[in-house]
């Protein structure tokens, strides 16, 4: 039902909406009917959100193909078939929720009674109040109620349990499951940082690994490292690393690249190769493991130290981090013998 092939897209940081920029360079996945969630350790929430916006037709990918139910994303047919509730959903402010539900029925088709739709999430008490008098939580709850009771075939939800009323939070899981089970061609895709929320929705949980959706298997016993590289051009390094593959997720911020990986040695070598190829100035590299057992710890230190020495320029090392689990590998590079 949802087909994404070789998609490259980006979103810019937005301080007003409190979101970091996100970048994907070659995302490919296919989803059938049912309820799916992009979640799991290592999945960047901003990248998940970016994918939802691409599917909803709000962001045009610079490369690749996106098809929903056979229609191109952003087309008129796709817009009718998709209900997307993002974190900053816009509703007609001068209309009441009851009138909006009725309007949605006229625009998208569907004969369900408007008040009954609001009652699904316990919102009937302010059905007659103009939207501009509602709080942001109430507005988002109204949008959710309309979306989960609509005749849309695909439901895209960004953190459906966040910023909604308490009553709606208690009913949204059941409503989403009812939507997913409502017809032969129904698909729900949820972006959430909480695997608990994903499981509450009865969703099949996927993680975003190397820009592919894979079953989320992170949990106890899985080694998982975060490599933070402070670099002169984080976006370029992130693009180069993402292209190479090997990382679980790659996230670029204003000053650094954060790489989630199960293989620290491979990630360090990958960063070194990419930085040399792109002639990037790396200021520092540091890593942390979330309490996981580290195999070949000294091998990892040595490799990363060698990788750091290979790089053309290194600024003086940053101060020793207070967190004992974080290892500063610039210091390792200076002292490869491990006398510290």
């Amino acid at each position: 039902m949802i087909h994404v092939e070789g998609v490259a897209a980006k979103s810019l940081p937005n301080a007003a909406l409190r979101r970091m920029g996100a970048l994907c360079t070659n995302v490919t996945f296919h989803l059938g009917k049912g309820c799916h969630a992009i979640s799991g350790g290592g999945t960047d929430p901003d990248v998940a959100r970016l994918l939802l916006e691409v599917l909803a037709g709000q962001i045009k990918p610079s490369r690749g193909k996106v098809a929903i139910l056979g229609y191109a994303a952003g087309s008129a047919k796709a817009t009718q078939a998709i209900a997307y509730v993002d974190r900053d959903v816009a509703l007609p402010e001068d209309m009441t929720p009851l009138a909006i539900a009725a309007l949605e029925g006229q625009l998208r088709g569907g004969a369900r009674e408007p008040l009954a739709r609001l009652r699904t999430l316990g919102l009937e008490r302010f059905a007659q109040r103009p939207v501009r008098t509602l709080t942001p939580e109430e507005r988002r709850s109204v949008a959710l109620a309309i979306a989960v009771t609509s005749s849309a075939k695909v439901l895209l939800l960004d953190e459906p349990f966040v910023r909604i009323t308490g009553e709606a939070a208690g009913r949204v899981a059941e409503a989403v499951r009812a939507f997913a089970a409502g017809g032969a061609e129904r698909c729900v895709l949820v972006a959430t940082a909480s695997q608990r929320d994903a499981k509450a929705l009865g969703a099949e949980v996927h993680g975003l690994v190397n820009e592919r959706l894979v079953p989320a298997t992170y949990g106890a016993g899985t080694e998982h490292f975060v490599l933070v590289v402070v670099v002169s051009d984080p976006m370029r390094l992130a693009a180069a690393v993402a292209t190479e593959g090997g990382a679980l997720t790659v996230t670029a911020t204003a000053t650094a690249v954060e790489i989630h990986t199960n293989d620290l040695v491979a990630a360090a070598e990958m960063v070194a190769r990419a930085a040399l190829a792109e002639s990037l100035a790396v200021v520092s590299m540091s890593s942390s493991g979330a309490g996981a057992y580290v195999r070949d710890g000294r091998m990892a230190e040595k490799t990363m130290g060698e990788a750091a020495r290979k790089l053309t320029s290194l600024a003086p090392p940053p101060p020793e981090p207070s967190d004992p689990s974080a290892r500063d590998l610039v210091a390792t590079a200076q002292d490869p013998g491990g006398h510290r």
Binding site: G57, Q58, I59, K60, G74, S75, A76, T79, Q80, A83, Y84, V85, V89, A90, L91, P92, E93, D94, M95, A99, I100, L103, E104, Q106, L107, R108, G109, P130, A143, I146, S150, A152
Partner: protein, 226 residues
């Protein structure tokens, strides 16, 4: 899908505007004031239309109507609620732009007729014909300005509306620029200097072409995603 259902959202903004109508009323009051003051002059209607309504109030009234229907600043942003409810993006944008154009046309037609009625003096042409002509020019000019501002915001962002207003004032007085903005054509139709080498009938056609062209280009842009 009901074809007219998409208009419920922009119309709700027009009908529930209340305080957002104040700028429209303020600029309309300015036109009325100029009409009252011009009664002392010969050819009072010409003075009221060319120096008050056409030169100042009409563009500012349409500017305010655009802000009433699109407080977000752009047609695409104003259409977002409709897209969430399942309306295709292009159809949603067209409903917003048509609402701006129709409301602008109606307000400017009524305002132009009111200015003529107030300023009319013994040396002016017959009232009946003048009312109809002015209302027609007001409607066409108002709709053309609506298309002009829609085009500006569609291609250059929310703040471009103000820049396009300034451009209309600066370019609309002389040279080739006079042909590209509604100002010179509206002035010509109210009895002022001709726009470029066009006759008054040519200015009618130019305003109609501007309206259609600007709305069409804005519609094409509404499909673009960021």
């Amino acid at each position: 899908m009901s074809a007219l259902a998409v208009f419920r959202h922009p119309l709700s903004r027009v009908l529930s505007g209340r305080a957002r109508w104040l700028p429209v009323l303020a600029w309309s009051a300015l036109a009325i004031l100029v009409a009252v003051l011009s009664r002392r002059q010969d050819h009072a209607v010409y003075v009221a239309l060319s120096r008050g309504f056409g030169a100042v109030s009409m563009p500012l009234v349409v500017f305010a109507v655009f802000g009433l229907v699109c407080p977000e600043g752009t047609v695409v942003a104003a259409a977002r609620p409709l897209v969430f409810l399942g309306a295709p993006a292009r159809r949603a944008a067209v409903s917003i732009m048509l609402t701006v154009a129709i409301v602008s046309a109606l307000v400017c037609a009524a305002l132009g007729a009111a200015v003529v009625a107030i300023a009319h003096g013994p040396k002016d042409p017959s009232l009946g014909a003048d009312l109809l002509t002015t209302a027609a020019v007001g409607a066409l000019g108002g709709a053309a300005y609506a298309g002009y501002f829609s085009f500006g915001s569609a291609y250059f962002g929310a703040h471009a509306r103000g820049i396009f207003l300034v451009m209309d004032v600066m370019l609309g007085g002389f040279g080739v620029g006079a042909v590209l903005t509604p100002r010179a054509h509206v002035r010509a139709l109210f009895g002022g200097d001709l726009a470029g080498r066009l006759s008054p009938r040519g200015s009618y056609v130019a305003l109609a072409v501007m309206l259609v062209l600007f709305l069409l280009l804005s519609t094409l842009r509404s499909r673009s995603r960021r």
